[in-house]
């Protein structure tokens, strides 16, 4: 028998990677952008279509449009030209993509996903490709190639994990970004990106929440925070002359568990007496333009500085969001700056100058809060989070795009007594994506998301089994929207929370009444023992009694 083991032959068929045909199946793809959204944004080729249609109704000159678009971008972006040329196919990135790990589809290997575009680049922009064709790894640009690009460039969450391992520093996410930009030129984009972008352009936020509803939601949150603490917690909106403009993702005032993070922010700002304002115009930190094109990124981002200028604030504080911080940290300064009308941010409480934000004038809330804790400016009672055994998911963009690794951990270790790290090769710069970023977090794409999120879930499962972890903390709105689903499927019994929700629980506020619930409304007193008992039962996989169910 051992000899047989050595003689295993692969039985699986291995097609030619250059064969561009893909199968679009509901559950593993995103729906096409509705024409009204493209029309609203002034983008080309609005029409009703779906990826599983045979005819994508491409414009007559689609091929020339793509090639002209490639040429323009090759001239404009040195990085794009380099990334098309310098890959040596070493394979270091191959097994680093969560979609490849979770699906086994070779075209999800970052090197091969990039090769889908490189092969077209070779055919039309290199001498060897033009002369030698497929011998030089070149491919004709056909409609099938466009469909394949759409399938795989909308199967990359632009998380940039692969780029951490590339010895040449190729950022495959930027190749995906170029691919999506080119597809935009012929009207091949997804609704989960274009509808939020159109909403954002119209009302200032992805959800299309209008100013009065925004005010309503924030007022409601202020009232709830007041009920929990017994303190009058105001929420200033559009207040000119405030020191700080606070910008957060719109999900924070709309969805759960984001909302509990919002309560945490409001309580913190009240406690330290921060002179801040929210804005109805800049009511969205997230920027789905990033998942479409640099032009749309810039258009949606412009409101942040415009509003900061109008409200005459000194600097910007940003909430827990993922790609918002990639835009703020890496693009905002050059796209819509210089922000010379703002001041280099200085914490009014500790006096710390945030030198890292000197250019953008925008500080991450975790940097701000970690600094407060470091200087002993907050009174904290971490025992209020004793019902949580916490681990931390490094959200891709804050960790890899801005190096925000220690600040959230510093906060968590100060506000929780039971904190456990996931394995080293699944956190910090090597963190695994939730599988739903970059516009892929839609329900029609659920099966693909659960594939892509499996490596992350697997690491959570490990700490759940080893340490009884029951809470996954994170600092990204997309994480908060989609990780609960991922946990429900792969690691039941683990909930998801923002870092500032836990901070809000632990924060001892001046003059507050006795806290009888946490921010989720769960009892912190006598019943807590009952709650722990239930959670332990859940952990052991024991069935709940009717009495237990009534308590839950």
């Amino acid at each position: 028998m051992p000899q047989q083991l050595l003689s295993i032959e692969p039985h699986n068929p291995e097609g030619d990677w250059r064969d561009a045909k893909v199968e679009f199946r509901k559950g593993t793809m995103c729906y096409a952008a509705a024409p009204k959204n493209l029309t609203y944004l002034g983008l080309p080729n609005p029409r009703p279509w779906q990826p599983f249609d045979a005819d994508w109704k491409l414009p007559p000159n689609w091929k020339q449009t793509i090639l002209d678009g490639m040429k323009e971008r090759l001239q404009k972006y040195r990085s794009f030209r380099l990334f098309m040329e310098i890959c040596v196919r070493c394979g270091a990135c191959a097994d680093k993509c969560h979609f490849y790990i979770g699906s086994g589809d070779p075209k999800n290997m970052p090197v091969l996903r990039a090769e889908l575009m490189r092969s077209v680049y070779r055919r039309y922009f290199t001498l060897t490709g033009r002369v030698l064709g497929s011998l030089a790894g070149a491919r004709e640009l056909t409609e099938d190639v466009i469909k394949e690009w759409f399938y795989y460039f909308y199967q990359c969450t632009e998380c940039r994990r692969c780029s951490v391992f590339c010895p040449y520093g190729i950022d495959t996410a930027e190749i995906t970004m170029m691919g999506r930009e080119l597809l935009d030129l012929i009207g091949c984009n997804i609704n989960w990106v274009m509808e939020p972008a159109a909403n954002c352009f119209r009302t200032g936020n992805h959800l299309g929440v209008q100013p009065h509803a925004f005010q309503d939601s924030l007022q409601f949150a202020g009232d709830e925070a007041s009920e929990i603490t017994g303190l009058p917690i105001d929420v200033p909106i559009n207040r000119k002359g405030a020191e700080v403009l606070f910008v957060m993702p719109s999900a924070d005032y709309f969805g759960t568990p984001h909302y509990y993070t919002l309560l945490g922010y409001l309580m913190l700002f009240h406690e330290i007496g921060l002179d801040y304002t929210l804005s109805t115009f800049a009511s969205e930190g997230g920027n789905f333009g990033l998942f479409s094109s640099h032009e749309l990124t810039k258009r949606l981002n412009a409101k942040i500085y415009e509003e900061a200028k109008r409200l005459r604030v000194k600097w910007i504080l940003g909430g827990e969001c993922g790609h918002m911080w990639r835009v703020f940290h890496q693009y905002m300064g050059t796209m819509n700056g210089p922000a010379d009308f703002l001041e280099p941010p200085v914490s009014p409480i500790t006096g710390t100058r945030f030198e890292n934000a000197r250019s953008t004038r925008a500080v991450h809330i975790c940097e701000f809060t970690a600094d407060l804790i470091y200087h002993g400016k907050l009174r904290l009672n971490p025992s209020r989070n004793d019902h949580w055994n916490v681990t931390y998911h490094d959200s891709c963009n804050p960790s890899r795009a801005m190096g925000l690794l220690e600040e959230p951990r510093h906060i968590l270790k100060s506000v929780c007594r039971k904190f456990y790290e996931m394995p080293e090769n699944t956190i910090r710069e090597q963190t695994f994506c939730c599988g739903s970023g970059a516009g892929l977090g839609t329900d029609e794409n659920l099966e693909m998301r659960l594939r892509g999120g499996f490596p992350r879930a697997n690491a959570v499962k490990y700490v759940r089994e080893k340490h009884g972890v029951n809470l996954l903390a994170c600092i990204c709105a997309i994480d908060k929207a989609t990780l609960p689903t991922l946990m429900e499927y792969w690691v039941p019994g683990v909930e998801v929370a923002g870092v500032h929700e836990l901070l809000g629980n632990a924060l001892v506020m001046t003059g507050e009444k006795e806290r009888i619930t946490d921010l989720r409304g769960e009892d912190l007193r006598g019943d807590d023992l009952r709650g722990e008992d239930l959670r332990d039962k859940n952990l052991r996989g024991e069935p709940l009694t009717n009495e237990d169910a009534a308590h839950e």
Partner: protein, 157 residues
Amino acid sequence: MNAAETILELWIARTAESYPRHAAALLSQEKDPFRNPVGALLRQSLSRLLRELSGEMDATAIDSALDPIIRLQVVQGFSPDNAVRFISLLKPLLRELGPEQNSAVLGVRIDDARIGQLARMAVDKYAQCREQLARIRANEVRRANQVQQRICARRPA
């Protein structure tokens, strides 16, 4: 490697072959469970299933061993028959052993009835996972609107 371990390794390798070639190599060779979570899951599930097939056939133990592998294949786009195909891969491996050796190596002879029972349980598990997908999709939508629902509930009509 004893014969029982060899059967397990062959079963894992044959199951991994239902994935494209590059992936199959990763699945069966990479040992780090965080670099290769699918491979680790296959190994764990199949070893526990083989233990039950050659032992007590405890329904709870089989259910917990089947759950991860079927759960995975449901979201990997496997049709129901493809998702349970890994079970039938065991048959030719056992036939190669011969009935006597099968009993000698594994303690109990794994016959077609045991394998059939496992396949039926796998089909049930597949259906359960599909139903759960529908449920969690609805829960996600509910969470996305929860704050607005609470605001509306508090507002006088």
